[in-house]
Symmetry: C2
DNA sequence: CTGTTAGCGCATTCAG
DNA sequence: CTGAATGCGCTAACAG
């Protein structure tokens, strides 16, 4: 009955003995078409299982109703709510989501940007593989020239002109360290991300400030990693294997804290032996009756802020967004 | 320097005094263009920050290099690895991912299908909001007529002609129940999904078979829900509040088990008081030293199988995929 | 209310 | 090796 390929407005036009223009009108501005014609066209459209071709429409209108999302790892629990928020809000506003997981690879990140640009995305949310000061992705000039709205998330590119939504890192470090000090811990092990990551640097700065304020002598050890679980576990394992025993361990993100917990277990240490603190809440810890003191962030809000910033800038190119900071909340 | 809009092959053509045809060739079949011309074109292309317009290209070629993914909830941990696998493999094969979260809403699911069709996706991976026998989405005929490859995941549509990758549900139920019986539990509470969900029905069938095989008298209670955490928690809470005390609780998926754990805690019950079993592994349980016996599935493999099935069918329309079953593994 | 013309950016004939 | 012509599906002007 139906043609092999998909039906186009041309097919409909033929069937109703009209031109494509009228069909197009009927579909987009129903009020500008005579009722009978309209009905007839809609009827045939449904008969033919007509689905508008977004590619053609977008080619013409020069906007794709597509939003790109680039993230360094889809399965990082930190991003769960963020993606959910972005997806929901984008959909609500008529945008679809083109998703890229760079797996932490700068090459894939570059390819993702290229691909997104080629699809003429209306805007792009970017959480970059690295926030080191010396990470200068080659695609940056290209992205700027593309003149499409870009919103960064969590990790801030050293010198990119794009606004973003970030966490309150220094303060979180400060609060975390204070909490541990207040609990009486004096020898603290920090397990962080890359040494040159600005997030890690900021959090450490906050931590150091808290220690400086402490009247008693304190000791700080720092382990660097890459914000993922396995390296964190291995680093802590090695540290503990060397016989060192801090009073407390402060993991700078969820995955790091998970790796840390693994290491602690492997060394037969219990939660009573060692204080813990993490930035962002380890999922389900409460459910297992092992709540870990932490700074939580409303990540859904973060995602929402980012997508709203982006969509607003898409709607109004004159809008000049500024960075937004999501502040954390101490959770003991 | 550069024009406001993005550069097109026409811009490049003008700059090098050639036609778009040659430019297009240079970009796609470099070997069919004189070396000098080629170099010149590539040089100008880079100067102009040229990015091919995928919309135009795809409109012409009638294929989008886009794969759609529809899932009922992005933040369900069960889907984490699945999405990762799909994303990775798709990217590797030159496809990009258009992602939709239906939030459990049939309406959003229908809209997602429409949108995906309009973007001329090359194929579509579908995890439907409901696998009840009487869920017959209105979009089904449309989707069939679209003649694009579709692969289902986890939840199987009652009568849709699309192949899929599913879990071994009856067997998992059987193994789970046997495990609990072997541990001496005789009064078992099942917390499942919707009463009419085929997955729940199959798992229950396996469970009942195990109980039937038990020589001693057993008791089975069943609570239905919707595969998410809150309803599960509330159902179990109400159940426990009524004073009933099963020997063990068998949660039919991760979120259900999490809700169950919450309820147990709220009632001051400990892990010693009650046996537990879940289908799919509750994330991080081991890390918290509270491993929960379960049937695990290699969900990465599931995702990989699904995307490979899809891509193969895209490449070879003659290929007739059959359903694949991912079997579980008992983990005590 | 409906049609004509034209073009979005690209790539595929078919000639030269 | 390069170009002229054509059309993918859709829609904005501008008629009529």
């Amino acid at each position: 009955m139906t043609k092999p390929g998909k039906a186009t407005i041309t097919d409909i036009a033929k069937r109703v003995n009209m031109t494509t223009v009228t069909v197009s009108r009927a579909l987009n501005r129903p009020e500008k078409v005579k009722k009978e014609t309209l009905d007839r066209i809609l009827e045939v459209a449904r008969e033919l299982n007509y689905v508008p071709n977004a590619l053609a429409r977008n080619l013409k209108s020069r906007e794709s109703r597509l939003v790109g999302l680039i993230t360094a790892s889809l399965d990082n629990p930190f991003y769960g709510e963020i993606i959910k928020a972005i997806s929901r809000e984008a959909k609500k506003r008529g945008y679809s989501l083109l998703l890229f997981d760079t797996d932490g690879s700068p090459e894939l990140e570059e390819r993702a940007v290229d691909t997104l640009l080629s699809y003429q995305v209306s805007g792009l949310i970017l959480s970059v593989v690295s926030d080191d000061n010396d990470y200068h992705p080659a695609y940056l000039p290209k992205l700027e020239l593309a003149r499409i709205p870009v919103t960064q998330i969590d990790r801030k590119l050293a010198k990119a002109p794009f606004p973003g939504v970030y966490l309150e890192n220094t303060e979180s470090g400060y609060q975390g360290a204070r909490t541990l000090l207040k609990q009486g811990h004096r020898h603290i092990l920090i397990v962080g991300g890359p040494e040159k990551s600005n997030i890690t640097i900021s959090r450490l700065a906050g931590i150091r400030r808290a220690l400086d304020e402490c009247p008693e002598p304190t000791k700080l050890d720092v382990l660097y990693g890459d914000y993922t679980q396995t390296p964190a576990r291995e680093a802590v394992n090695a540290y503990l294997a060397s016989g060192k025993r801090p009073d407390a361990i402060f993991g700078l993100n969820i995955l790091i804290m998970l790796g840390t917990l693994e290491a602690i277990r492997q060394h037969g240490l219990s939660r009573e032996d060692i204080g813990l603190f993490s930035i962002d809440q380890v999922p389900y810890a409460d459910i297992f009756g092992e709540p870990i003191p932490c700074i939580t962030h409303n990540t859904y809000q973060l995602g929402l802020t980012a997508i709203n910033m982006l969509l607003r800038k898409i709607d109004d190119p004159g809008y000049q967004p500024y960075d937004e900071i999501i502040s954390g909340e101490l959770r003991l």
